[in-house]
C-alpha cells in the first residue's frame, strides 16, 4: 500500500494528445476512480501507471520512488483487466499462484497464500478447475484474487464490471468495495459508468479529451460541477443559458425569462444547471406555464419532458404517484417552479 503521484504526465501519439499534463496524487488506502467517456484518456493513464505505455513526458512515483522508467514486471501492481485476462492454459490455482511463483517464495508459502487469496473471493473450492469451466463472474473473481495474491502496492481496475450482467454487476461492486476497505489497499479504477464511479470512488477524476475536468468526491461533482461537461456527464441535468441578474450576485436571469437563485456566485458565468429532480411540477397557475411533451415511466419516478417559454426544453423527474394525481399527459399544461438554491452557475 502506498500513495501514488503523477506529475505533469502526458502521452502524445503524433499530434494527438491522449493525456495532457496530468497532475494527481492518490493517498494511501484511497479508492480513486478515473471517469470519462471513451477516448478521454483514462485507460491510457491507467496503462501508463501499469507500465504498458511509456509517457511522453512527466513522472509517476509510488511513495518517494520514481517508477516512470520501470518495466511492468518490476512495479508490483495488481491489475484486473476488463476481459479478466485469465491464463486459459492454467488452472485457477496456478492462475493465482503465478505471481507468487515469479518471486522467490518457498513452495509451502505459495500454496498457503494462493489458497488464502482464493478464499478471500470464495473460490477455494474451485482451485483445480480450468478457466473454461468458470462463469464470467467467477473468472472475474479469479482475476481479483490473482492481482491481490502478490500483495501489490496499488490495485488497478480497468472497467472491471463492464462485462458482467446488471444483477451481478451490483453484487461484484459491493464485493470490490468491501474487499478494498478490508485490505485498505490503494485502488485506481477506470470506468465510463458514473453510477459505478459514484458508488465506489472516494474521489473521482473526470476526464475529457485527455484533460482532467474536475477532481472531487461524488457529491462535489454532482452538486458543484466546475464546467458544463462535468455537469452533463455526472447525472442528468438541465442547462439554462443567461447571465447574472442585476446587482444580486447569486441571481441568475435565464434567457427564457426565469429568475434563479444559485448556490454559488454567478459572476461572469453564462449558464446555470438544474438537476431534473429539483424541478417541481404543479397544476397550471402554480408557477411558470409550461407544456408536457413526453412522459417516460421508470417505475417509482417518471421523466417528464417540458417545453417552456417557447423553445426552452426542461427535464423534470417527478414521482409516479404525483404524475397520476396531477393527471399529467403529453400535451397538457402545467406550472413549473425551480426552488431557490436548486441552480448552480457554471
Amino acid at each position: 500500500m502506498a500513495n501514488l503521484t503523477l506529475r505533469a504526465l502526458s502521452k502524445r501519439y503524433g499530434s494527438f494528445d491522449a493525456v495532457k499534463d496530468m497532475n494527481l496524487s492518490v493517498s494511501e488506502g484511497e479508492f480513486l476512480v478515473l471517469l470519462g467517456p471513451s477516448g478521454c484518456g483514462k485507460t491510457t493513464t491507467l496503462r501508463m501507471i501499469a507500465g504498458f505505455v511509456g509517457p511522453s513526458s512527466g513522472t509517476i512515483s509510488i511513495g518517494d520512488k520514481d517508477i516512470t522508467a520501470l518495466p511492468p514486471h518490476k512495479r508490483n501492481l495488481g491489475i484486473v483487466f476488463q476481459n479478466y485476462a485469465i491464463f486459459p492454459h492454467l488452472s485457477v490455482f496456478e492462475n493465482v499462484a503465478y505471481g507468487l511463483r515469479r518471486r522467490k517464495i518457498p513452495k509451502a508459502e505459495i500454496e498457503r497464500r494462493t489458497l488464502a487469496s482464493l478464499q478471500r473471493v470464495r473460490l477455494d473450492h474451485l482451485a483445480q478447475r480450468m478457466p473454461k469451466q468458470l462463469s464470467g463472474g467467477q473468472q472475474q473473481r479469479v482475476a481479483i484474487a490473482r492481482a491481490l495474491a502478490i500483495e501489490p502496492d496499488i490495485l488497478l481496475l480497468d472497467e472491471p464490471l463492464s462485462n458482467l450482467d446488471a444483477k451481478l454487476r451490483h453484487q461484484v461492486r459491493e464485493e470490490i468495495k468491501t474487499l478494498q476497505q478490508d485490505l485498505g489497499i490503494t485502488t485506481i479504477m477506470v470506468t465510463h459508468d458514473q453510477e459505478e464511479a459514484l458508488s465506489l470512488g472516494d474521489r473521482l477524476v473526470v476526464m475529457q479529451n485527455g484533460e482532467v475536468q474536475q477532481i472531487g468526491n461524488g457529491r462535489d461533482l454532482y452538486e458543484k460541477p466546475e464546467n458544463l461537461f462535468v455537469a452533463d456527464f455526472i447525472g442528468r441535468t438541465n442547462v439554462l443559458e443567461g447571465a447574472q441578474g442585476g446587482a444580486q450576485e447569486r441571481l441568475f436571469q435565464t434567457a427564457s425569462g426565469l429568475e434563479l437563485i444559485c448556490r454559488n456566485v454567478v459572476g461572469h458565468r453564462r449558464a446555470a444547471v438544474v438537476r431534473p429532480e429539483m424541478i417541481s411540477v404543479d397544476r397550471v397557475g402554480n408557477g411558470a406555464p409550461a407544456r408536457v411533451i413526453a412522459i417516460n415511466y421508470l417505475g417509482p419516478v417518471c421523466e417528464v419532458s417540458l417545453l417552456f417559454a417557447g423553445d426552452q426544453k426542461l427535464l423534470a423527474i417527478v414521482g409516479s404517484d404525483r404524475v397520476t394525481s396531477l393527471g399529467l399527459a403529453p400535451g397538457g399544461e402545467v406550472g413549473l417552479s425551480i426552488p431557490p438554491e436548486a441552480a448552480y452557475a457554471v
Partner: protein, 268 residues
C-alpha cells in the same frame, strides 16, 4: 419436400467434392495392388509384390530416408525462424512490419520452379567465385526447402497469434514475469497448436517438393519425389503406386497424430 430436395442436393455436391479430392488418392492405393505390370482396368488379379519391390529398391528406401531428413531439417529451421519473427511482427503496425510479412510469405507467390532455378544459378555463381562446393550440396538443398516452409509457418503462426489476447501477456508481466518468462509461460504455450500445425505443414511442403529438388539434388542423394520421377521415366509398374501409398500413410499419420494434440481444423 423442398427441404428434403435441398438437403439431398447439398449432400450430393459434398460427396462430389470429396470424390474429386479423394479419387486420385484412392486410385493410387488401388493400383498399388494390381498384379499386372502395366496398370489396366479392370485389374487382372491382386498382389502385394510391388510393396516388396519398393522396399527392396535401394533407390526408394534411400531417397525416402533422405527426404525425411531434409523435411525434418527444413521444418525445424523454418519454425525456428518463423516463431520469433511472427511474435515480433504481430505487435507492430508499422509499414516495415507489413512489408516484412509480405516478404516472408513471398515464396508462396513466386512459382517454386523459378525459385529453384534462381537458387541453382546463384549456387553456380557462388561456386565459381568462392570455390565452395555449393551445387548439389546437402546444405543448399536443406536451406532451399526451409525457404518454402517459411511462408506456411508465418501464415499459420500469425493466424494463431492473432487470436492471442495481449492482456494475458500484460497480466503475466504485471505479476512479475520478465519478458522471457512471459514468452515461455504464456506466448509459446498459448500458440502451441499453431506451432504444431506450422511444423506439420512445413514438413509436408518440403517432403512433397519436386520443383526445388530438381535443381538441387546430387547423384546418389535424391529426395523421394525425384526418385519417383526418375523411376517413371523407365517404368510404369505399380511400384511407384506402392511408394506413393507409403508417402500418403506417412503424411496422413502425421496429421492424425498432430490432431490428437491440437485441433487442426481450428488453426488451418
Amino acid at each position: 419436400m423442398i427441404e428434403r430436395i435441398r438437403r439431398v442436393t447439398i449432400g450430393l455436391w459434398v460427396m462430389l467434392g470429396f470424390a474429386y479430392v479423394l479419387l486420385p488418392l484412392l486410385l493410387v492405393v488401388w493400383m498399388s495392388f494390381f498384379a499386372s505390370e502395366i496398370p489396366r482396368i479392370p485389374p487382372q488379379g491382386y498382389t502385394l509384390n510391388w510393396y516388396a519391390q519398393a522396399l527392396e529398391n535401394p533407390q526408394f528406401s534411400n531417397s525416402f530416408l533422405f527426404s525425411l531428413q531434409v523435411a525434418l531439417f527444413a521444418a525445424t529451421l523454418g519454425l525456428l525462424l518463423s516463431v520469433p519473427a511472427t511474435i515480433v511482427l504481430r505487435r507492430s503496425r508499422s509499414a516495415f512490419a507489413a512489408a516484412a510479412v509480405q516478404f516472408l510469405t513471398a515464396p508462396l507467390i513466386v512459382p517454386t520452379i523459378v525459385i529453384g532455378a534462381g537458387i541453382y544459378i546463384s549456387l553456380v555463381l557462388l561456386e565459381i567465385m568462392t570455390a565452395i562446393p555449393a551445387v548439389g550440396s546437402v546444405w543448399a538443398l536443406g536451406l532451399a526447402h526451409t525457404l518454402i516452409t517459411i511462408p506456411w509457418c508465418v501464415r499459420l503462426l500469425l493466424a494463431n497469434l492473432s487470436t492471442l489476447d495481449n492482456s494475458v501477456e500484460e497480466a503475466a508481466a504485471s505479476l512479475g514475469a520478465n519478458p522471457l518468462t512471459v514468452l515461455l509461460t504464456m506466448t509459446l504455450p498459448l500458440i502451441r497448436s499453431g506451432v504444431v500445425a506450422a511444423a506439420l505443414f512445413g514438413f509436408v511442403v518440403s517432403f512433397g517438393n519436386i520443383e526445388l529438388s530438381l535443381f538441387l539434388v546430387a547423384p546418389g542423394q535424391t529426395t523421394l519425389p525425384i526418385a519417383i520421377l526418375q523411376y517413371l521415366e523407365w517404368k510404369l509398374d505399380p511400384t511407384v503406386s506402392a511408394v506413393s501409398v507409403a508417402q500418403i500413410v506417412l503424411i496422413g499419420g502425421g496429421l492424425l497424430i498432430a490432431d490428437r494434440y491440437v485441433k487442426l481444423t481450428r488453426v488451418v
